[in-house]
Symmetry: C5
Subunit: 78 residues, 5 copies
């Protein structure tokens, strides 16, 4: 997994039908931005853990979702 910091949110009104409803967050990972689906309700500035690829899509069990990046946890501050 990779860790990163939530930097914003993306909205997409025009999308394919299988897009799941929910938040698409921008996450900065080592200087790059990736967009991840967020099932946890994370906030801007939060440090998160992201899984990618078909492992991310497998989170969606009731429908097939075109999601290749998923926030799987928020990292505890230490």
């Amino acid at each position: 997994m990779i860790r990163g910091k939530v930097t914003g949110r993306v909205w997409s009104s025009k999308h394919i039908e299988t897009m799941p409803s929910g938040a698409l967050l921008e996450v900065e990972v080592a200087g790059s931005i990736i967009v991840a689906f967020d099932p946890l309700g994370c906030a801007e500035g939060e440090e998160v853990l992201i899984t990618q690829g078909s492992v991310a899509a497998a989170f969606f069990t009731k429908q097939k979702a075109p999601i290749d990046a998923l926030i799987i946890g928020s990292i505890d501050e230490t």
Copy 2:
């Protein structure tokens, strides 16, 4: 997912049989170019969201398609 900007279109007359008909767009992502299948009719200059790998291919349910990059949404201007 990654976000990028549509910069052009690619045509391929000589292709394998399982190539789906539809637009193949060039998208600039962080300075690199990737080519993604576009089921949404996006235009040059549009900001889009791309999913990759087997998750992209899974969009095609009636046939097996050799597509590893798919535009899943257009990003709303804010």
Copy 3:
């Protein structure tokens, strides 16, 4: 696979339900940090071998786990 050195541990109290219980270790790989699930009880400073993607998730046979990086071995000192 990639090899790297364990540099720390990550805790995530707020996570999705399918997160397996066990250690999530930070591993430095060629200057970058990735977070991998550790079924072997590795310690900080240990050199490890990591497999990624759906191959990592396939390690979990009793449940579906959102794990895309798995420590599969500790590298012998030579």
Copy 4:
């Protein structure tokens, strides 16, 4: 997908049994070289479109092939 230019061919007499017979081409993609299976008979200098990962392997339906990069089309000159 990624686009690149065919720069040469690779021969491998000593290979695993499931290697499909056919051409393995070297393709330059943004300054790097990848080796892709070519079912189309492309020539040196040709601009091609490559799909990667399990999507590339899925092209082979009669046997299981260890191919993670496949030329799916030749790009039309414009």
Copy 5:
């Protein structure tokens, strides 16, 4: 696929149970090192072809193996 040169071997006495027995070779690919399973008995200095991801794991048909990089051929000297 990617091509690289074998630079050494890795031993891992402490590993997960599903690790297949056989050689794990270090291969230099464009300045980086990856570790690949070698079913062909390649030697140091040999130029090899590597397939990655779930395509590599699919080589193992009798057991499930946590292998995401596999040497599929040795490149002929020309």
